[in-house]
Amino acid sequence: MASLDDLKKRIASVKSTQKITKAMKMVAAAKLRRAQESAEKGRPYSEKMNNVILNLSNGISDKENAPKLLSGTGQEKTHLCVVMTSDRGLCGGFNSNIIKKAKSYFAKILDEGKELKIITVGSKGNDQLKRVYGEKIIENISFKESKNANYFDADKVGKMVIEKFEAGEFDVCTIFYNQFKNVITQIPQAQQIIPLNNEGEENSSEESYEFEPDEDEILSNLLPKNISTQIFKAMLENSASEQGSRMSAMDNATRNAGEMVDKLTIEYNRSRQAAITKELIEIISGAESL
């Protein structure tokens, strides 16, 4: 059994850990509110963008010659996966959930005998993936310096993806991120961004638009922007999810630490009492033997 001194030290150390996790929870809660706000504020843009593209693709005259970003290259040989994770740990299952989702997708792709390329955004995803898929990772981006998700960063990723697409390096592009539902639930998502997948979303308005310049030109300008927008949306959702996940993880950790302190305190008191009893017995039996 541990000595009294050891128990005392352990109690102190668990208590200080509890303080840290509690502080982290508070910070995450504050950041979560901001991240959630910006995720909500960012929605109109991507929704409107989607709408415009939908209207455009409905109005496009020559479907055969549609821009490649919309209709694809006509084959699905090489898949590019953009896996978006956080740069920091201690956020529960946030990163593992994305990685799990991504890995099952990777396995499917490889089983089908297709080629796989990976871009990781955020260092945690890179750490977890490079062990198994090290040689498939072609790029690793991390935005450690930026405090909040911003469009500029997303645009950088988007431009890179488009550059690679135009160079013919891949045919299909999918992004992986966590969609923020609420503080306890984040849903890992796989979203295909190239070619654009608009199935299931039928546009209600059959109104025809006037285009200036013509549809094709607008589309070829708009689609690259849409890629960046989708990536930005994913980044916003991700950062809200990260904070939410961290908050609940730290909440659990704080509670567990509290339980541990209680248990250790009981143990400490018991052994203290046992020691006193032992001493008393020794004194009494010593006195009796006289």
Binding site: Y45, M49, S208
Partner: protein, 130 residues
């Protein structure tokens, strides 16, 4: 109702501006400036660097944009843009910064014609502001 319609400017971070008492908007569309009044036909177009003028009862406003898409439908004008500044809030140093950036971009040799054209446009617009 009078000759007013609604305008909404959205950037990726937030809904930048919503106004519903606008009488006319002039946007720098790609093929030249375009004035939009109430009951304009539905149109989608995209923007080049320039000034958006919004004329309304509560006063005129000017915004500098670098790119974007406009969509007009049912007397709703939506402008999507990634870079927008209110000219009233923009001081000289900010203008100079943007101008310097744009000039650097325009002087690059390894860019294609279109981005060169856009960068030149930026420089031109920013110069007229000063």
């Amino acid at each position: 109702m009078s000759e007013e319609f609604k305008v909404e400017i959205v950037n990726p971070e937030k809904s930048f501006l919503v106004k519903d008492d606008v009488s006319e908007v002039v946007v720098p569309a790609f093929e030249g400036e375009m004035g939009i009044l109430k009951d304009h036909i539905s149109i989608i177009s995209f923007l080049k660097p320039g000034i958006i003028k919004i004329l309304s009862k509560s006063g005129d406003e000017n915004y500098y944009v670098e790119d974007g898409i406009v969509e007009f439908k049912n007397n709703n004008l939506s402008i999507l843009t990634s870079t927008i500044f209110n000219l009233a809030d923009m001081d000289k140093s900010k203008q100079q910064d943007l101008l310097k950036q744009a000039e650097e971009e325009a002087n690059k040799t390894d860019i294609n014609d279109q981005s060169k054209y856009l960068a030149d446009q930026k420089v031109e617009v920013l110069k007229t502001l000063n």
